[in-house]
């Protein structure tokens, strides 16, 4: 349970307040295997340790990627790290997105803000095995056009004929000719078959709340919706108690939950 040293290969600024760290094992050439949706506990020397989802390609186990937003002490310190610096890694922890279960069905991915980061490994996986899925639709909402994460990748994906990408922003700026409004506004006209589609949702809790409602309004069953939850975490292995959500430990029973299994908790305040 002690952090493994990883070396920072690159620090890439994504937006004004988000960045991606590309890490490689500092100890040797061991590969880092993970499943889409899992997270690591990242440690900055002398500052602290926090859970951050893995945002890279699960097929490329030589590089470990984490995209995060600078909001707290640790993420701010992380943002000041540079190439060659060492960061501590514990993981991977948690449950994955149901990329196997979704095979043969339409997949609708709904992401809000930095919530796109934990979904990116699932997208990589599905695009690498494109023939296993029917329609894949990505609905992404950002605060402003300049907050759009993975911009280049989104442009490339959007040009692809077998992936639908719809983007919206809460607040437009001059020059923006795209959608304006919350991400849920994209759901009614998104092209997927609600009877068979599997929905993967990640973003702020309030966004997930309304997304789940809108998906159900389209006819997607709660058992076909998966959401990724966030809670305070200290250990990652279910013994510190911080991440409890009802009877679940988000660190090991989540972060990805099938919605019908936590519906009764998700709808309650201060659980």
């Amino acid at each position: 349970m002690i952090p493994c040293p990883f070396r920072i290969r690159t620090v890439r600024r994504e937006t004004q307040d988000t960045f991606t760290l590309e890490l490689e094992p500092a100890g040797g050439s061991e590969r880092f295997a993970f499943k889409p949706g899992q997270f690591n506990m990242l440690y900055v020397f002398g500052v602290g340790e926090i859970p951050i989802s893995i945002s890279g390609d699960p097929a490329n186990a030589g590089v470990l990627m984490h995209t995060t937003r600078e909001v707290g002490t640790v993420t701010k310190a992380m943002g000041r790290l540079k190439r060659g610096d060492i960061i501590g890694v514990r993981g991977p922890f948690g449950t994955p997105w149901p990329v196997q279960e979704a095979e043969g069905a339409d997949v609708v991915i709904v992401a809000g803000g930095i919530g796109l980061a934990p979904l990116r490994p699932a997208l990589y996986h599905m695009l690498a095995h494109r023939d296993r899925y029917e329609k894949i639709v990505l609905l992404y909402g950002a605060r402003t056009p300049s907050d759009i994460l993975y911009r280049r990748e989104l442009q490339r994906w959007r040009a692809q004929f077998d992936l639908e990408v719809h983007i919206t922003v809460d607040r437009a700026m001059s020059g923006w000719r795209g959608n304006v409004g919350v991400v849920t506004s994209l759901i009614p006209r998104a092209p997927f078959d609600p009877r068979s589609a599997v929905a993967l949702v990640c973003g702020p809790e309030i966004m997930m709340r309304f997304t789940v409602l809108e998906l159900q309004r389209r006819g997607v069953l709660p058992s076909q919706i998966y959401i990724s939850m966030e809670r305070n975490m200290k250990c990652g292995v279910g013994i510190c108690g911080h991440c409890q959500l009802g009877h679940c430990f988000v660190c090991k029973d989540g972060p990805v939950f099938r919605y019908d299994r936590i519906e009764h908790l998700f709808e309650r305040r201060e659980i």
Partner: protein
């Protein structure tokens, strides 16, 4: 697997019971010291009976008893005389030794620009002999075993302490007003999971311990001490004391339907009512022998060359316990009390297969405002009962309005 590792056989190794005269009690301590154990036992500290390293029987709370009720704890002289164990449990539990309140997990040393390496904690843990473990506390230890030594994750710090610990239990003969172990089936009689179990018999010019053997380790101690086999009459005297204790435990927690009761009542107005009294001081979680939540703290030396990770008991009553960027999840007092009691009595069952409460009553005694977990459960049931009952005329009027 747990059971194989740490849990002594449930059937006693020897059906025979033995007698340890009170005057020879020190010999047991000495034998344990000779085997390399650090003996931890009850002693009086700051007007409370707590578990501390104790080498001599003279440091035990001789001739003392305790009086406990909601929000109150007093140590008093035992009018019976110079007894060793005529009290129940104090503010501390054995969790303090198996899962210390604050402990270092690892250290990291900076070596050069932006680099560091992590050093695992090399722990030199004493082999503990716990003397005076009550039945409810044995259950509490087993509950924490499920938390820290699960199939998914084994906590090495806990394991190091737990696997060498020798447990000398004591049957309760003087329950307090907050005890409700009988409701949870955890006491007052010690049933299993001990190395030795003692029952202190005092009175009519007699003062001895009836000794039951739970493991081979315990048996070898009895053999070394050369204890005589107890006579039937001596066994009966001890049994009578435990039976009498059992009858004097009056506090009840109705465990039927308990999980469902709490799950049904997540939105109960009762939580607001408790919040008017609860100070969210976290005393209940600190004294609870099963509460396991902790936080971690990172500290560095002044030069910033060495960083340490410490873990420290934490409590779901603290606002920052549930903090995630920008805000805490459980801000209201009501939500924090609900979290604690719902976890303890309900979700614990889903997580670990048992109720997280052993009925020791510590949370009741040490609550500064005397909130009683059994009363709160009763209040929830009462509210449900009144809701299920036919509506009063007043409510009917309201419905018609």
């Amino acid at each position: 697997m747990l059971e194989e590792l740490f849990m002594p056989q449930s059937e006693a190794v020897s059906e025979k019971r033995f007698i340890l005269p009170a005057g020879q009690f020190q010999r047991l301590f000495d034998a344990l010291h000779q085997r390399g154990y650090q003996t931890i036992a009850p002693t009086l500290l700051d007007d409370a009976i707590v578990y501390e390293p104790v080498d001599s029987v003279s440091e035990l709370p001789i001739g003392l008893t305790d009086e406990q009720r909601a929000g109150a704890y007093r140590v008093k002289r035992n009018p019976e005389g110079r007894t060793f164990f005529r009290y129940t449990v104090g503010p501390r539990s054995w969790k303090r030794y198996l899962y210390p309140p604050r402990q270092r997990l690892w250290q990291a040393e900076r070596n050069g620009d932006g680099r560091f390496h992590v050093l695992a904690e090399q722990e030199d843990v004493p082999r503990y002999a716990f003397i005076g473990v009550r039945a409810c506390e044995l259950s509490a230890i087993q509950i924490q075993d499920r938390v820290f030594l699960s199939e998914q994750y084994q906590d090495e710090h806990y394991r190091l302490r737990r696997e060498n610990a020798l447990l000398i239990a004591v049957n309760c003969t003087a329950p307090s007003g907050v005890c409700f172990c009988t409701s949870l089936g955890t006491g007052p009689r010690v049933r299993d999971s001990f190395d030795l179990a003692l029952t202190e018999v005092f009175g009519n010019n007699e003062h001895f311990f009836l000794v039951e053997v739970g493991t081979e380790r315990g048996a070898s101690l009895v053999e070394e001490l050369g204890l005589p086999v107890a006579a039937d009459q001596q066994c009966q005297m001890a049994e009578a004391l435990i039976d009498s204790a059992e009858q004097r435990i009056l506090k009840r927690l109705d465990t039927s339907d308990l999980k469902e009761l709490l799950y049904r009542n997540l939105d109960s107005p009762h939580w607001e009512e408790v919040a008017k009294r609860c100070l969210t001081c976290s005393n209940c979680t600190m004294v609870c022998p099963t509460c396991f939540c902790h936080t971690v703290e990172d500290v560095t030396n002044l030069q910033g060359t060495v960083a340490e990770r410490w873990r420290q008991w934490d409590s779901c009553f603290h606002v920052d316990f549930s903090y995630i960027h920008g805000s805490a999840v459980r801000i209201s007092e009501a939500s924090r009390y609900r979290q604690w009691i719902t976890h303890k009595l309900a979700s614990w069952q889903d997580q670990f297969g048992v109720i997280g409460c052993v009925g020791c009553g510590r949370c009741i005694t040490w609550c500064p405002v005397g909130i009683d977990i059994t009363e709160e459960v009763r209040a929830l049931r009462r509210r449900e009962g009144s809701r299920a009952a036919p509506a009063s005329p007043k409510e009917e009027n309201h419905a018609n309005a």
